[in-house]
Symmetry: C2
Subunit: 166 residues, 2 copies
DNA sequence: TTTCCTTCGGCACACCGATACGCATGGCTG
DNA sequence: CAGCCATGCGTATCGGTGTGCCGAAGGAAA
């Protein structure tokens, strides 16, 4: 699905303010409300807009520690990977999980309240992940920046940002 | 600010669907629309709800590569750190940056379209960060899970989740 | 216990925005 | 040039939002 200049402006705006009123968004991108709404719906249906969420202030809800955990598995077999990934998906404490190239197999990010809370997460979540051979934990002292918005370059008047991903 | 059971349900819901109509949210948590709206406003004003955003499908906008970069600085002086962090904050390509305990000083996450795009980002963004002594890059093959919602434990009927963070 | 006070939820209403039409315009193709 | 598709505009309607007011529940002090 090609994204023209207007689509990109819509996405840019919605990435910063997911709750903006359609009328305001329309004015911002220079369309009528109905035309703008139609584009937003199209972007939603295409799955380009995945979902809308509220982001909480991590420190204000008491999750001050970010912890990164590098994990190596005992084997690289399909079953081992699948079992591990399913367990990760079930855990509500694992904020992010990436399959990595390089020394470690997976990289996880955990948000914990404090060391005691991390111990709980370690015991109840991390230690129960199947197939783990090695775990290396790094603590973050402070989150410098956290960004959910991708920049959508103004590449020409109407560059097909990228073809179908389906 | 103490969060009671209803507040936590509101937050849980808004973390999953930031665009839910207030009337529906009210029904979900078992309040009238007005009472519910008042609570949401309070949570917003307290900064517990930081902001609302639209999340895009990273692969559908052509950002298929996640790259983690560990960075060590030449010095740990305040000026070096500040200069580095300010440069990071200005970059639109750096999705996350954490000050770390352990070998590396910082951990960054970058979202790139492909290797060529990463080269551009490396050249125009990473290579220009001030004070860097060493950089170690790891590629993610695939994002297994990505979660923006914190679980808000149902700790008792009305546990002060945590005191003022101001 | 009574009274005062604070907090919080429900109710009702006025208003604003979302949404679904129908119509107009313009580019492309046969 | 005629028809078609895509896309935008304007409007009318409907539903949600947000405010003002009242009443209930709980706590403190006399």
């Amino acid at each position: 699905m090609p994204l023209d200049r207007i689509d990109r402006r819509i996405l840019e705006r919605l990435q910063r303010d997911g709750r903006i009123a359609n009328a305001d968004l329309a004015e911002f991108v220079g369309l009528s409300a109905s035309a703008c709404l139609r584009r937003v719906r199209t972007l939603e249906e295409a799955g380009i807009i995945d979902r809308y969420v509220a982001l909480l202030d991590q420190s204000k809800i008491g999750r001050r520690m970010d912890i990164f955990v590098e994990i190596s598995l005992k084997s690289q077999s399909n079953e081992t990977l699948s079992a591990f990934e399913e367990a990760v998906a079930r855990s509500t404490e694992i904020m992010e999980c990436h399959l990595m190239a390089g020394d470690a197999d997976y990289l996880l990010r955990i948000a914990a309240a404090d060391p005691v809370d991390f111990e709980r997460i370690h015991r109840d979540h991390l230690a129960r992940l199947p197939g783990v051979s090695r775990m290396r934990t790094s603590f973050a002292i402070r989150a410098v920046s956290r960004n959910t918005a991708f920049s959508l370059p103004e590449t020409g008047p109407d560059l097909p940002q990228q073809a179908k991903a389906k």
